[in-house]
Symmetry: C2
């Protein structure tokens, strides 16, 4: 019943469960996740959980820290991840664009994608000045709804999907200053009107962001391209100029 809503293409329960566990381990903190945690959060039977984890460890998709008796991502994940990033796909498609934008502006820029209810950083180029970002680094995630990089995607989904995600993430918004479901709805409306998402120092004091959606199938956005920069560097109309540059670059990328 309260099983994951994910893909649910019938005929692979075991695989679905394995992915749930992979996800829990991947999102677990630096201290790793124990079997007990995993059974508790996933709701899976202890024996089942244990069996799946053992198999994943055997294949090195996970690794077990025998000392701390906990699980973390394994070497095979790192290897396949590196290949996924180099091989064909969105990362490679935008590689040149990211490098070019970085060269032209000197600012921090990132490519985000949606994964479930999160907005995840797939690639980035660090700017000349080090700026704090919501996602921290490649692989980092925030709740969809937090930050322009994620609003740019959220704004271009079906309305019922938006609502579902906003409700699901409601509690997670609480840890950000002045953020709540209604604020997110407002940001979405503003973004659709403007054509791109912005934030000027509301989430991180002194830090601004501009993000533009990337449409992969028709009208739904599944990725976004955006800047993070110091508010102090902003001149009038700068954000709009940045948005235009991002749109130009996206237009140059095949398929996007």
């Amino acid at each position: 019943m309260p099983e994951a809503k994910h893909s649910s293409s019938t005929g692979a329960q075991l695989l679905d469960r394995a992915v749930i566990l992979l996800d829990l381990v991947a999102n677990g903190g630096v201290n790793g996740v124990t079997l007990k945690d995993l059974t508790a959060v996933s709701g899976l039977n202890t024996a089942t959980c244990h069996r799946i984890l053992n198999t994943l460890v055997g294949h090195k998709l996970l690794a077990r820290d025998d000392k701390k008796r906990c699980y973390r991502l394994g070497a095979r994940m790192a290897i396949y991840g590196a290949r996924a990033a180099r091989g064909p796909g969105i990362i490679s498609s935008y590689d040149a664009a990211l490098t070019r934008i970085r060269r032209r502006t000197g600012d921090t820029i990132h490519l985000m994608v949606r994964l479930n209810h999160d907005s995840v950083c797939l690639d980035r180029r660090d700017g000349e000045c080090v700026v704090p970002t919501l996602t921290g680094s490649i692989g980092g995630a925030v709740a969809l709804g937090v930050g322009p990089g994620s609003i740019a995607m959220l704004a271009y989904l079906d309305e019922d999907e938006q609502e579902f995600i906003i409700r699901a993430n409601a509690e997670r918004y609480a840890s950000y200053r002045d953020l709540n479901p209604d604020k997110v709805r407002k940001l979405i409306a503003d973004t659709r009107e403007r054509g791109y998402a912005i934030d000027v120092g509301e989430l991180i004091p002194g830090i601004a962001g501009v993000s533009v959606p990337i449409f992969t199938d028709g009208t739904k956005a599944s990725a976004s391209l955006g800047f993070t920069l110091l508010c102090a560097k902003l001149t009038p109309g700068a954000l709009h100029q940045y948005a235009l540059m991002l749109k130009e670059e996206i237009a140059l990328v095949p398929h996007g």
Copy 2:
């Protein structure tokens, strides 16, 4: 019949099969792999194969190129890979060492691990001069037995395991100049006597390598740390000095 020998911890056939398919896709060329290829190589039933692939695509561990009708690694893999590299594990453990060695020597250095019958590059630092390497980049693999980075590991496995791997890889050696099972056995013997593995221009003309095993559990090596450099830069005794430096650095890493 020629089912994978991998972990085979009972009770997760579906998961084992999924990993076989992931592996085939990950090792497939840049052109992606089609369903037909996957069924042919894996020996799995077409329907079964299709069902597993669909589920993996649903979870974004794989992605499907609808145009070319083929499969490649997905965004989730890239994300988890990035996290695996940043989180605790061998990559993080050796991160500082790699950076330090790079600064001290200016040469190309890499961290290799064993995965099945392959030696895979987990991390590297590029040297001042660009040198061609067997594995190309992070995530790149060669057959165990090819190159000092892989010989350093192979030399410190159980003898029956060595033999099994050498036989399994025999045909793959053929694509390298003067390489064959007996040559590999010779290289292993030399390495055990010397304490580290070397190659001076035999595999790639003008390019030399030195590698030292990393012992993670007792006497068996599961990783190696090594240099790739220009033969022209070699002075008498240089390789030995390099090996000493590598051993020193490994000794400094906790657990290794």
